[in-house]
């Protein structure tokens, strides 16, 4: 992966977020890195504070779902499919630790076999479902929140 490939993908996803999901501006979520396997976002604390001066649980969920949605969008784009026909069907989030600073949000690739099955299903039937997970890290790299969602891609 070249640097220009990565920065072009990040700029593209930033535009999709800004254009299609206006709340991303209020969340101030930033697209930081994409290497073809992992997507890294950043969620600043200031705009996303709660009543205890830590990160609002709703903002953490938004960051988790955006990381997975963005991962799927970029992974499909790399496979030649430029689509936003991706919807979340269900989401679950655990909050093991409070997030007290700007947070890194990471969605890593699922097992290769999971991806292959999903991709073949989509090519055959025009519709497929995949489970994706993301983590929101505390300032010292521990899991502040762990998100898992079921995503459906349709043609």
């Amino acid at each position: 992966m070249t640097n220009s490939y990565a920065s072009s993908a990040c700029a593209h996803l930033s535009e999709v977020f800004a254009h299609d999901i206006p709340l991303t501006a209020a969340l101030a979520v930033q697209v930081c890195a994409w290497d073809g396997l992992s997507l890294h976002l950043k969620l600043p604390l200031g705009q996303n504070l709660n009543h205890q001066s830590s990160m609002f649980g709703g903002s953490l969920y938004c960051a988790g779902v955006l990381a997975c949605w963005g991962w799927l969008h970029l992974r499909l784009r790399d496979a030649g499919i430029n689509t936003t026909h991706i919807v979340v069907q269900a989401g679950h989030i655990d909050y093991p630790l409070p997030v007290l600073a700007d947070a890194e949000v990471i969605c890593a690739a699922p097992d290769a076999a999971v991806w292959e099955r999903f991709f073949k299903m989509y090519q055959r039937h025009g519709k497929a479902r995949i489970s994706l997970s993301s983590r929101i890290l505390t300032h010292d790299g521990q899991d502040g929140a762990c998100f898992t969602g079921q995503f459906v891609l349709h043609s």
Copy 2:
């Protein structure tokens, strides 16, 4: 319950949201009704659009968690405990139908026995956990999203 009781509670919760959770301004969530048993919020579509011109799944989650958090805050306030020491430990949301218009968000009281157990636990130990659910309705009153969260109250 008198009208002034209800409107005072709604004004109070609106202030708590505005003061403590700045993202609620961007969500444009409104506190509509509280009768001592159910809390009704409103989530407008405009500020919460996604790439398919329906409600963003992250916004729906935020509305769901705010309805339950607000329900617990107001219910405790009615019981003489004015606290914001309430945190969400985990949340789950299903999205059975797209939400295509401004949405009503409802958190109804759990079973009386569940509340009594929670309240006694808090009085005895200064800490207690409760599961609360909320629904986000489509324009024709069907479930667009169903949220359930585990909330912890501590003294």
